[in-house]
Symmetry: C2
Subunit: 135 residues, 2 copies
């Protein structure tokens, strides 16, 4: 599981606005200091939705070998945490510090992790609940 | 694109409740009669959220070869459309008609389709907008 977090590069992020309209995008991430870190334009729907909610649900892996992670979201401005920013750039081969558009880093710290292999398994296997690893 | 809709079996569904809490799950689907059809327990978060919103955003494919489809959602009760139900069971190898728990079919008819290969392409390629194919 940790190997997966360290080696995967992309995840799916679901977010929603205050009206309950959901939005789904793929983003690159790095596993850094026990959190998932993504970066997206500060004005994007995903950033606005996640920072409004303060909570994210993300999925890694193919649909038949799924890891679903939920947890709180914090915004980190460019320049605030250079180690995190370097880790993100190295892992994703994408460096938002080089762009004119204002990006923000979003740090998602797992509070629950579920994994399952088959789509129709209704009960995923819990690897973490309420912030505690169960394995 | 149509070949992909006809051959893929799984997609990601993002949904949200009225409070703006997003939820992400993988589901099996069939492309039937110009719509995507999935099935999930009527009491599930996904069914409740999608039927509340009347609109779904779904993603197919790996994160670097993404198809994102949005469109209205209709509920179809078990027994209401046997051809659709047979098509769903054949494609997904999962037949909710055989289960004790009440399932519902959700028919998602594309109004927009975007596809892109690289995560950091900010502008996806539009294949359909407002229900009209652009290719």
């Amino acid at each position: 599981m940790l190997a997966r977090l360290r080696s995967d590069v992309d995840l799916w992020v679901a977010s929603a606005d205050a009206e309950g309209d959901a939005y789904l995008v793929p983003l690159s991430f790095v596993w850094h200091g026990g959190s998932l870190v993504v970066s997206t334009p500060r004005a994007s729907r995903t950033a606005r939705n996640l920072l409004r909610a303060g909570w994210a649900g993300v999925a890694l892996g193919p649909t038949r070998d799924v890891v679903i992670i939920e947890g709180p979201v914090e915004a980190i401005a460019i320049g605030e945490d250079p180690a995190l920013e370097d880790a993100h750039a190295n892992a994703t081969e994408f460096d938002p510090r080089t762009l004119a558009e204002e990006y923000v880093y979003l740090r998602i710290t797992p509070r629950s992790i579920q994994a399952w292999r088959e789509v129709n398994e209704l009960e995923g296997r819990w690897l973490m609940r309420k912030g505690a690893w169960l394995d």
